[in-house]
């Protein structure tokens, strides 16, 4: 297992190196000069020059790069031009909202999806299978921003049960947190729920026709025990891989949903930064999201190794 995780860790480091290079290059990929792009047309050449100096753009490229790596290795992502504060602090402040959203959505998608997949597989080719899979297909085909607007209209505007947007940290009020996170997480999670349901069904059907399931049946234990104890742990092996992919997709999807529900998360911060040409936040945000994403993936790899004893050896 150590070798397996070491391999994954090495892979993650390579990705991180590439992303950090890309973040660094970001500033040079945009046409024109970053300083004048941030400042509007009325800015004097003197103002532009001062910002260039502040951003270190006058130094030779190798030196800029050395500075960039020197900084990020210390966890310093620079200062936001717009917010006049450290990028790391801004990102970390926004992280709980994004993690709440993506994490809750992942929970909904995983629990709901796996349950639906099991029900469908156990009732293979019966009406429950067809009903579950049709529902999953509908869930998969609905665009999330549209679903988000419909849910707001129904539960927030018409019924008035839940707020239309915003975010209350869990530490402040667990109930308030739940009320603000419920609709966005549902919106974000439903699409992936459909996806996980279909994958889980396939994985279960594959496992259910394996010899060892027949061995379990030969023991005379109940159908439920066979499904729960013998089929599910094996079906989890492919499902965990998919959950890793879904977790990545949810982080990306959170950016859109944060807009729809006005949630002050990392995604909204970065989108705001793009609109304002706030380059340090764009660069730092990209790097930050990559780190979060890779952490999630390594966690999934760890779970994978725990679920499948055969991986632990290699």
């Amino acid at each position: 297992m150590a070798a397996f995780l070491a391999r994954r860790l090495a892979g993650a480091l390579i990705v991180l190196l590439l992303v950090s290079l890309m973040s660094f290059a970001l500033i040079w990929l945009v046409p024109g000069d970053p300083a004048s792009a941030f400042l509007d047309a009325s800015a004097t050449p003197d103002q532009i020059q001062r910002l260039r100096t502040a951003l270190g753009l006058d130094e030779p490229l190798p030196l800029q790069m050395a500075h960039w790596y020197g900084r990020i290795l210390r966890g310093d992502l620079g200062e936001s031009i717009l917010l006049q504060r450290s990028v790391s602090a801004a990102l970390i402040e926004r992280l709980p909202a994004t993690l709440s959203l993506a994490g809750t959505a992942l929970l909904i998608a995983t629990l709901g999806g796996v349950a639906a997949g099991i029900v469908a597989a156990v009732n293979h080719d019966k009406w429950a299978d067809q009903a579950t899979m049709s529902a999953a297909l509908i869930g998969l085909s609905v665009p999330d921003f549209w679903l988000g607007l419909v849910l707001i209209l129904v539960f927030a505007v018409s019924l008035g049960w839940l707020p239309t947007g915003g975010f209350v940290p869990f530490g402040e009020s667990p109930l308030g947190w739940l009320r603000t996170i419920a609709l966005p997480a549902l919106t974000l999670g439903l699409v992936q729920l459909g996806f996980i349901a279909r994958i889980s069904r396939t994985a279960m059907l594959e496992v259910m026709r394996q010899d060892y399931v027949r061995t379990a049946d030969a023991k005379g234990i109940s159908k439920l025990e066979i499904v729960v104890r013998h089929c599910l742990p094996n079906a989890f092996i492919p499902i965990v891989t998919v959950i890793g992919i879904v977790a990545g997709a949810l982080l990306g999807g959170a950016v859109v949903i944060e807009q729809v529900y006005s949630i002050p998360g990392v995604g909204r911060l970065i989108i705001g930064a793009i609109a304002a040409r706030d380059f340090p936040v764009m660069q730092g945000g990209l790097l930050f999201l990559a780190v979060v994403y890779l952490t999630v993936n390594l966690t999934v790899d760890l779970i994978y190794a725990l679920v499948d004893p055969r991986v632990r050896l290699t």
């Binding site: 027949r214 061995t215 030969a218 023991k219 005379g220 499948d308 004893p309 055969r310």
Partner: protein, 326 residues
């Protein structure tokens, strides 16, 4: 009373209703080892799975009865079967590599039987599992309880399967080619182990193989299966000394005379017909050296030739054991 009584059992497969077993009549007496022999594709595994009610989804019971201690199991239904499996009935399979759950430790897979089916506590089950591992001669039994299947060889996994079967205290063990997937030395060890266990526990066995040499070592009585029908059934000595069915004789002459690794029963010309290509008459007729026109009229039923020796052939061989087979 016979432990297991099968009467005119018919099993069909698929929407077309192809008969994979037809008119199969067998009985297993308490403490007896009934050997089932036949070439690959004759329906041996289907018969084993039918007895366990573990038929694949495409197959279904289409006629006849299967009685356990007199209880009509097909009529009694799935719940009655489930009560018997893992208690009165146990089975070991041909492929030890795939028969064990890859994500559970092997000890736990044996303990599951002890806890769920024999009501033992976890601790007692663990001790008993270790004793069973010792009984089936798994070295370092205590340590091996914690191994995963992929950490064991095929022979060791088959021993785990046997330990699992022993854990049930079943009165009938169905062994479907339990040594076919193993190499020769391991094969004879496993056969020796099964013989010892049978002697010590007095359980009945339905021992399936394509190898008459193995039958000679294991069985008290033999049923020869061909294309889903019983061709001949007799005490093991009579099968070897005075086989009556041309198919049995062909099987016997296909055993290599020299000792050494046994070959598959491939030396009879042709092969078992596919399910959708069964002849209307005797199923062996197309390959039979003794074939005559009457053989194509209908499939001959199993008739007693002498007490305990039945044969399904319109013109079976007589008593005398002769050198020139068909």
């Amino acid at each position: 009373m016979a432990t297991l009584e099968i009467d005119a059992l018919e099993v069909r497969i698929g929407a077309a209703g192809l008969k994979v077993l037809e008119d199969v009549t067998l009985r297993v007496e308490p403490g007896e080892v009934l050997g089932i022999v036949g070439e690959s594709g004759s329906g041996k595994s289907m018969l084993a799975l039918a007895i366990m009610e573990l038929l694949p989804g495409v197959a279904r019971y289409a006629g006849g009865t299967l009685r356990w201690d007199g209880e009509d199991m097909i009529a009694a239904g799935p719940d009655a079967w489930r009560k018997r499996r893992g208690r009165d009935l146990a089975m070991i399979f041909q492929e030890p590599m795939t028969a064990l759950n890859p994500v559970h430790r092997v000890g736990r897979q044996v303990e599951e039987v002890l806890v769920r089916r024999r009501g033992m506590s976890r601790d007692a089950a663990r001790r008993e599992a270790q004793a069973l591992f010792q009984r089936v001669e798994i070295p370092r039994a205590a340590a091996m309880l914690d191994a995963y299947p992929h950490e064991m060889s095929g022979g060791m996994r088959q021993r785990v399967m046997i330990a699992m079967a022993l854990a049930t205290h079943a009165r009938l063990l169905i062994a479907d080619e339990p040594t076919t997937a193993l190499d020769v030395t391991v094969q004879s060890q496993i056969l020796g182990l099964l013989r010892d266990l049978r002697r010590d526990t007095g359980m009945s066995m339905l021992f399936i193989t394509h190898d008459l040499g193995v039958i000679a070592e294991m069985a008290d009585r033999v049923a020869v299966l061909y294309a889903g029908r019983v061709a001949e059934t007799a005490p093991v000595r009579e099968i070897f000394d005075s086989a009556r069915h041309p198919y049995t004789r062909a099987l016997l002459s296909a055993i290599p005379k020299t000792s050494g690794p046994r070959e598959r029963l491939a030396s009879i010309p042709g092969s078992v017909p596919a399910l959708d290509a069964f002849p209307t008459g005797c199923r062996f007729a197309p390959r039979c050296a003794m074939r005559r026109d009457a053989c194509d009229a209908r499939a001959p039923r199993l008739r007693d030739a002498t007490a305990g020796h039945a044969v399904a052939c319109i013109e079976p061989f007589g008593y005398v054991s002769d050198e020139d087979g068909p």
